[in-house]
Amino acid sequence: MKFFYSLIKKVSYSLLLLLAVIVLNFLLLHIAPGDPVETLVAEMGGATPELIAQLRSDYGLDKSFPHQLLNYILRMAKGDLGMSFTYDQPVVKLIMGRLAATMILVLTALMLAVFLGTILGIMAAQKPKSFFSGFVTLISLAGYSAPVFWTGIMLLILFSYLVPIFPSFGMYEVGSSGNMLSYFLDVLHHLVLPALTLASIYLAVYSRIARASMMDVLGSDYIRTARSKGLSERVVVYKHALKNAVLPVITMAGLQFSQLIAGAVVVETVFSWPGMGQMAFEAILRRDHTLLLGILFFSTLIVIVVNLLTDMSYRLLDPRIK
């Protein structure tokens, strides 16, 4: 019951956040120099004042500010994010076409970073003064300091040019046809480099957190208790300590998911991965603000949903929170 109550509370708070994002989008559209009609007119190469007035009323731009805001919110609530004039398609439809690719990339990178980061962090924490621990710290510093697009390009040069074992762009071979398995393997082959690149920064962050939290946990009283029961080191570390040490990593992963989505923009651009991020890059080149803001809105929506999920899974792992 308590769980249900807190779920309702979380969901309604998330909806409030979403509303705030919509308002932010609206404000950005308004504060930014030039409105949609001006952009459209410029695209058309000029128009008569009558046509401009007509367009303004079509877009609802002749209404008062609160009226426009209300209209905007209602439209967004109905799932209408506007039309992209460069693609001449609804923004929602465009994003939906790219969503799967982005989610595959982001979730793979997330798993990779959390999993590898935790493992590295734990191994480093067990021998804090060893060479390996120093190596993990070094890797972590390097991953944190390298710009992600540069890491991607370096990986491309290394593994797609010098040692050509991975494809350099896209998500699958153009024109390839076959069964599900070969399609899956094809996508996997294309996924390796972008996912590694995106994971690299967060791998650094998570291994650092995992190392610190593992060292903290290993010094705790209940680990001493576990040892006093004669449990083997493996059980002590990977059963008793791990479940506690992984909690801060999960918190961080949830908190940083928004950064991961943002990082995908850059990685998708480098690897021509056909996701939302690459479309954001194209939207910038074509000055398609409706599409760009649509992507911002949608990315935030994903972040909010993921935060909710993280919160719930955290509750499952840590019995102290109800």
Binding site: D221, R224, S228, K229, G230, D318, P319
Partner: protein, 330 residues
């Protein structure tokens, strides 16, 4: 009562490596406990009592710690000669330990039943189901109400006293020969303290477990043990039967400790002073000079104290003391 001791610690020395060199935290500690007997180790914090317990269990983090000399004989076998794998069969099985903080000594993310039955599965090779049943029985034995229900609870859902009972159930689940209780009630309410000690006494009678009780409280020692070892700065100062020590303490430090304990003070002969405290603080272990470490705080300091460390002498039946002043009284 003239049985052979079940656990005998001889000449135990522990060193810790620090940046400025090696520091000796235990100096040639000797003590023993027989089956069914309770002995106490008493002293201020940092005197080495918990270190003695952890060294017995070989739970000292190595490095920086190192057991450099001595032996720990369990039923005649030297535990220090066992390797880590063999030692794991002793921990939780032959020798168990309960700790000061019941709040933090149980793993917060595992159910209580699992934490108790884990010990049983580890040492007795029972199935999960059998171990669960034994856990419930064990929890009943330590008088936890509603044990069958509580095994599905997490530690944070229990009170401090209940958690300490869970710790005791866990420690006793394999019928160990020796139970080391390191300040088991310090973090608990006074009324709960008494219940826990009653419980320990009951299970001791049922199982014949030897108990080593570690505390800073002379009062607790007086009520719950038969013999006591007084420690200070890694040294054993005095050892003897509880009644003897309380009524005729030989070491100035022991006298000081008793004087600090309200309801014990009246037991001491010729003692009319007010309740007092021992002046000064426990010395920095890295600055010891091989002489009596209590010297700077001692009100009965003599010339010899600045020249040589006193040897342990026997002053009565099973009463040993390590002090120049006590030697002169003879």
């Amino acid at each position: 009562m003239n049985k052979e001791p079940i656990l005998k610690i001889e000449d135990l020395c522990v060193d810790f490596k620090t940046r400025t060199g090696s520091v000796r935290v235990l100096h040639h500690i000797n003590l023993s406990v027989k089956a069914g007997e309770s002995i106490g180790i008493v002293g201020e914090s940092g005197c080495g009592k918990s270190m003695t317990a952890l060294a017995t269990m070989q739970l000292i983090p190595t490095p920086p710690g190192l057991i450099s000399e001595g032996s720990v004989l369990l039923k005649g076998d030297d535990l220090l000669k066992l390797n880590e794998i063999q030692m794991r069969d002793v921990r939780g099985n032959e020798i168990s330990m309960i700790f000061q903080e019941p709040m933090t000594s149980l793993n917060p993310v595992f159910k209580i039943g699992m934490q108790i039955s884990e010990n049983i599965i580890r040492h007795q090779g029972k199935t999960k189901k059998e171990a669960q049943e034994l856990s419930v029985a064990m929890m009943r034995a330590v008088k936890i109400p509603g044990a069958a229900r509580l095994i599905k609870r997490y530690p944070h859902e229990l009170s401090g006293g209940m958690r300490q009972r869970v710790m005791i159930a866990m420690a006793l689940s394999c019928q160990p020969s020796v139970l080391i209780a390191d300040e088991p009630t310090t973090a608990l309410d006074v009324t709960v303290q008494a219940q826990i000690f009653d419980l320990l006494r009951d299970v001791q009678q049922d199982m014949g477990t030897a108990i080593i009780l570690i505390t800073h409280d002379m009062g607790v020692i007086a009520e719950n043990t038969q013999r006591v070892v007084v420690m200070y700065a890694g040294h054993k100062f005095e050892e003897g039967p509880v009644d003897e020590i309380i009524h005729h303490p030989k070491h100035p430090y022991t006298r000081g400790l008793i004087r600090c304990t309200p309801h014990l003070k009246k037991n001491m002969e010729h003692e009319r002073e007010e309740l007092s405290e021992i002046p000064g603080i426990v010395p920095d272990l890295s600055r010891l000079d091989g002489l009596c470490p209590f010297r700077p705080r001692c009100s009965e300091k003599r010339r010899q104290c600045d020249e040589q460390m006193p040897q342990e002498i026997q002053t009565g039946d099973g009463h040993f003391v390590c002090c120049w002043a006590a030697g002169e009284d003879q």
